[in-house]
């Protein structure tokens, strides 16, 4: 005889495997990690549980530059991925036509190769005398001592490249849902080109981007900012319409939110790109944690730094969610 499951229990039963998985492989290790962070001692003499909360202050004081650098690299990579991914997702969603699926496949195609392998291939392609820089140097277009690897730009570019699909896909999903009839309605209600606004937004966007880039590569920002502002203004002036600003973009905000989190969180914790494409001066907090765990075997500090990073990300995300407005994200559709 079949015993019927009470209807009310079904959602909980369905949740059970997921919750079980999280408890076993996330909550329990996290708790363990937390306990480890409060140890004192070293690998040769052994560790004691001393509830040494002071390690958090110590870790923060000692490693805040790495945390700030991680946040900066992660933030820039997210911004870049957004600037690259949004037009990409927009084009696929609105102009893709019957090639939509092919284009989407191309977006995720890199995933078929290992993340590590792709990053190593960047290293080969962009090496000082590699496929790209070698010929340019021979032709005298760039100076002999120019290098791309071992710079912050390389690390940020690598992170951006590796995480671009995580930005593009949620953006695509959000944009694909935007009803084109809403855009017709907007045009019907006099939403036309957005020339002055678009120019201003483009100029500001381009300017900020160039300023940040100049800071990272440590050059005088004046000229790049001016050039980028003019280019941005032109792009904004002719590409941004009023219906985009008022309808499409607000309706794609859930995708912006999801995409930027999916990009930013792994970006901040990344150490592979900094390891393979950077140098000692571009190390991120992930590199420190990795070294503490695996090379120095300073388990308490490694654990404490992991928790500091986690806390920082959670706080950052909460602030971000508040700024973007949760109501906007969950707003009902007509």
């Amino acid at each position: 005889m079949i015993q019927r499951v009470p209807r009310g229990a079904i959602p909980y039963l369905l949740l059970l495997p997921g919750i079980g998985w999280l408890v076993l492989f996330y909550l329990y290790p996290a708790l363990q990690l937390f306990l480890v962070s409060l140890w004192t001692g070293n690998i040769t003499q052994g560790y004691q549980q001393t509830w040494n909360f002071g390690i958090y202050a110590e870790g923060f004081n000692e490693y805040w530059p790495w945390i700030v650098r991680s946040a900066a690299y992660g933030g820039l990579a997210t911004l870049l991925a957004f600037l690259l991914g949004y037009p990409l997702a927009y084009t696929i969603a609105f102009k893709g036509g019957r090639y939509k699926n092919v284009l989407l496949f191309l977006v995720i195609a890199p995933f078929f190769t290992s993340f590590l392998l792709r990053t190593i291939s960047w290293k080969i392609i962009l090496a000082d005398n590699g496929l790209v820089l070698g010929p340019l140097k021979q032709l005298g277009i760039i100076p002999q001592d120019f290098q791309f690897l071992a710079t912050p730009v390389a690390v940020i570019a690598g992170i951006t490249y590796n995480l671009l699909p995580f930005m593009t896909l949620p953006l695509y999903v959000a944009l694909e849902k935007v009803d084109f009839r809403l855009l017709e309605a907007a045009r019907d209600l006099y939403a036309g080109p957005w020339r002055p606004g678009g120019a201003i937004v483009g100029a500001i966007g381009g300017g900020i981007l160039a300023f940040l880039a100049a800071l990272v590569v440590e050059i005088n920002p004046l000229l790049p900012v001016a050039v980028a502002a003019v280019v941005g203004a032109l792009i904004g002036r002719y590409l941004i319409s009023e219906s985009f600003v008022r309808i499409t973009f607000p309706l794609s905000l859930p995708g912006v939110f999801a995409g930027s989190l999916l990009t930013f969180i792994p970006a901040v914790g990344d150490f592979v790109n900094a390891d393979l494409l950077g140098n000692v001066r571009t190390q991120m907090i992930g590199n420190v944690i990795e070294a503490r765990f695996l090379k120095i075997t300073d388990y308490p500090m490694a654990s404490a730094l992991s928790f500091i990073l986690m806390a920082a990300i959670i706080i950052g995300v909460l602030i971000y969610a508040r700024i973007l407005g949760t109501e906007e994200l969950t707003g009902g559709r007509a």
Binding site: R181, L182, E184, R187, R246, E328, G331, G332, A334
Partner: protein
């Protein structure tokens, strides 16, 4: 003569088959191949200022495409659109002084009702104070005051409909376009909204161009109707002219039920033309009714105009009399619907109000011989170019719609 709000001149829209030089040239020898689908076929139309005008027709007749061209959402393949005397054929939608109520409302889900209604005013840089005044007024007009802060997801379909109307009307457009706006509502709400729409139109005095496939809806609200079929309109006129004097078989079939009988002309006197039905019966029709009709003609009469008599009964002088036999009777409460077969096999539908005969025993029953009689003035004559075969197809189409 009233001012013209919208004038369409030879307006044409062809979908598919490209009209750009190269592709047309490529297929130029291949007769009509890849000519695409002719959705709107050289329409000439004047819509008067302040008029409630309907484009009525089955799906695929080109009514929505015509509306979308007026709104600026489709580029005409050929022809011209004038708005209050100004050529707007190539003016983008956002520069046209025309607003649209879309079929599925297309309210902006992320904006409040207030901001939805204010959208057009804000794009036109109307001052905040004026926006507030006009939006409030408009929400009162559509009887939705107090809904300002809600989102479109939080109101019903009927309310969304009103918001869509307010959002368009608040801009005081020269012409308001409505694309089957009541299609998604249930019957009762639709009837309510029809009356409401007409009230609002009279109140604001703006020209409405209304697209629908529902003949009753069009008749209820419209000052004039253009009945469309295959990319052009077959007849244009007041609802009662379209109903009482349909010009073509399609119009007769699309607006209400009609009985069409093939007939041949058989002389005329100074007031009446004589026709002979295929069973040999002579029928009289006022000359005024056939004046501008050409080609093959068929005779029509609406079911409610026919009275059923017994053979021995007298009919008023001059009335047409045709003999037949009841083959089917269905009691509908307010009236009874009879199907009467004539001697030549044609079937005629007759509605009789349940007044003189109301009880079961008094009603006609199938198998009884009857005489159909109606006034000559109740006849109409349609052009029947396609003949009966094409007519059947049209009737089926109309029945489906």
């Amino acid at each position: 003569m009233a001012d013209v709000a919208v004038r369409l001149v030879q307006l044409t829209k062809r979908f598919g088959g490209d009209t750009t030089g190269r592709r047309v040239a490529k297929y130029v020898d291949d007769a009509n191949a890849d000519q695409g689908f002719l959705a709107v076929d050289h329409i000439d139309l004047d819509v008067n200022e302040g008029e409630f005008f309907s484009l009525l027709g089955p799906s695929g007749c080109g009514k929505t495409t015509t509306l979308r061209m007026i709104g600026g959402f489709e580029q005409p393949t050929d022809g011209r659109i004038e708005l209050q005397g100004e050529d707007v054929t190539y003016l983008p939608a956002y520069k046209r002084n025309v607003n649209t109520v879309f079929q599925n409302y297309a309210l902006f889900p992320h904006l409040t009702i207030y901001e939805n209604v204010a959208f057009g005013l804000r794009r036109r840089k109307v001052s905040d104070a004026d926006v507030k005044k006009r939006v409030t007024e408009m929400l009162e007009l559509v009887e939705l005051p107090g809904y300002e802060a809600r989102k479109p997801g939080q109101i019903s379909g009927g309310q969304a409909q009103r918001v869509a109307l307010a959002r368009a009307l608040v801009n005081k457009p020269a012409v308001l376009l409505l694309d089957e706006p009541l299609g998604a509502l249930d019957l009762k709400l639709r009837k309510q909204m029809q009356i409401e729409l007409k009230r609002i139109q009279q109140e604001v005095g703006i020209t409405f161009i209304y697209v629908t496939h529902d003949q009753e809806e069009a008749m209820t609200m419209s000052d004039r109707i253009a009945v469309m079929n295959h990319g052009h309109y077959e007849q244009l006129g007041d609802p009662e002219v379209l109903y009482e004097r349909p010009r073509t078989r399609f119009v007769a079939g699309f607006l209400g039920v009609s009985n069409l009988l093939p007939a041949s002309a058989d002389g005329r006197d100074d007031r009446y033309a004589n026709f002979r039905l295929s069973d040999g019966t002579a029928v009289r029709v006022p000359i005024a009714v056939i004046q501008d009709r050409a080609g093959t003609l068929a005779l029509g009469v609406r079911p409610e105009k026919i009275r059923l008599l017994e053979e021995k009964d007298e009919s008023p002088a001059g009335y047409n009399r045709v003999a037949g036999r009841i083959v089917h009777a269905s009691y509908l409460g307010v009236s009874t619907q009879y199907i009467v077969q004539l001697k030549d096999g044609h079937r005629v539908t007759v509605y009789e109000q349940n007044v003189t005969r109301a009880t079961k025993a008094e009603l006609w029953s199938s198998g009884e011989d009857v005489v159909l009689c109606w006034a000559p003035e109740h006849c109409f004559v349609v052009e029947d170019a396609g003949g009966m075969a094409a007519a059947e197809a049209d009737r089926e189409l109309a029945a489906v719609v």
